[in-house]
Symmetry: C2
Subunit: 245 residues, 2 copies
DNA sequence: ATCACTGATGTGGTCCGACCACTACGGTCG
DNA sequence: CGACCGTAGTGGTCGGACCACATCAGTGAT
């Protein structure tokens, strides 16, 4: 596209970043900056990979790496045959990567993660108790009864996740809900649950869920906070004990 | 490896993932799985890009995209001329991406982020009050006095960040500290601070910091929790008011 | 024997060009 | 008018080439 090769061979200083780090890293920062500055709106479609590469003066390969990076971060979304789009940049999009932390953590850090979850979950449950509507409560109860009606561990886990997800949603803070979602990612809980439930913790779990539900119905934030903290705290203490046998 | 070009054209079912999603996405999952299963230890060096590509049966280009993705997630680290290494997988490594959320969030979500920070920061400060050592307290005081001794906004911000970072570290939960670090990322606070401090909030900020420090010295968790919650809450309320003028 | 220099080697970083797989859109045909 | 189909454009993949950098063994002077 350049045409006349007599263009500035010397590095242009037109308010552009000179040269720091790899070109791919630079491209990532530039696209991020474009979004942060509002030059790219959520949901908007970007130019093609080829055009973008030309615009930033890099090869398509490097541009693809930059796009891939922003894709896994939940900032961009590539649709085969259609184009590249900015995501809606909602909490869920950007915090999806949180699950990776939970998946790759082991030992002491699992306890730390549960501690964070206990803090956030108890607060979220308290907020939910104050704000939850009738419809939302029905949804919570649906998963609660379904969870108690089956013996299939997989199904129990699924409804357990949904139970807490509905509560987090009722708290009215999408960001907090998204973080808790990542903190309860499938593989994370599956690893902990396996051992925990094998000790006949089903009954205790049901009792704790019932206590949380009771607090929600009563719109009692303090009771809800205590119940949720105790619920997560039980698992936390069990896991803590597992690490020091 | 197989040699004979009479290779099975039909999809191989040798316990391998058949074909879902892009090859790059598959490679990302496979490497993640290798780490999760312990086949790759933290700090360990991986085979070369070229070898890895051959092992997973994909091109080097696709492998590079996978590596780039895991790099931005803080799972891998590429050193030019040396090789690719698994990071130490510490909380700070994996939660670095949290800063992206703060950088790209605007409007209502900024309030939500501050709400999350208020919850975590207040708890972390409470924990710190109970556990902080003399040395750690000295470090905190260093930033406190330095912050009050200058008028340069940039320097104030830097010491402010360090002040809270030291407290979070004293709480003894690296994961929580890493999340708070992301929630206080430079660009995030710079955007909010700009307007907040222009209203002569310096004095108030100093008073709040002094209150937090007093609670730490007294080893009074409840006072620390209240002071930290009020500190963040002030900014939170100010920002909330800005959004509904 | 010790140390600084130097070269070769291997690694990640970048670029290019080609082709494939899929989507979207428009025209055609029933 | 609607279903079908072909085409152009897009992201996805591949292979090869070259560059920039780190590392280390070998060399040489001290």
């Amino acid at each position: 596209m350049d045409g006349t090769p007599t263009e500035e061979t010397e590095p242009e200083k037109t308010a552009n970043a000179p040269q720091k780090g790899t070109v791919t890293q630079r491209a990532i920062e530039q696209i991020k900056a474009m979004i942060a500055e509002g030059r790219l709106e959520p949901g908007q479609r970007l130019p093609t990979e080829r055009d973008l590469a030309v615009q930033l003066g890099i090869s398509r390969s490097s541009m693809r790496e930059a796009i891939r990076a922003l894709t896994v971060l939940g900032v961009l979304e590539a649709r085969h045959g259609s184009g590249i789009y900015v995501t809606l940049l909602e909490a869920g999009d950007l915090l999806e990567t949180f699950g990776v932390v939970a998946d790759l953590s082991r030992g002491p850090r699992l306890v730390e993660l549960l501690e964070v979850r206990r803090i956030l979950e108890s607060t979220a449950t308290a907020l939910a108790a104050a704000r939850i509507t009738g419809d939302q409560l029905v949804e919570v109860e649906k998963h609660l009864t379904a969870m108690n009606a089956t013996e299939d561990p997989e199904e129990i886990l699924a409804h357990d996740l949904a139970f807490h997800r509905e509560i987090a949603a009722a708290a009215g803070n999408e960001t907090m809900a998204a973080i808790l979602e990542g903190l309860s990612s499938r593989t994370f809980r599956a690893r902990v649950w396996r051992g925990y439930q094998e000790e006949g913790a089903f009954a205790r779990t049901r009792r704790e869920h019932a206590a949380i539900h009771r607090a929600l119905v009563a719109h009692d934030p303090e009771a809800a906070r205590a119940a949720a903290a105790a619920h997560v705290g039980e698992v936390e203490q069990w896991l803590r004990a597992q690490l020091t046998p």
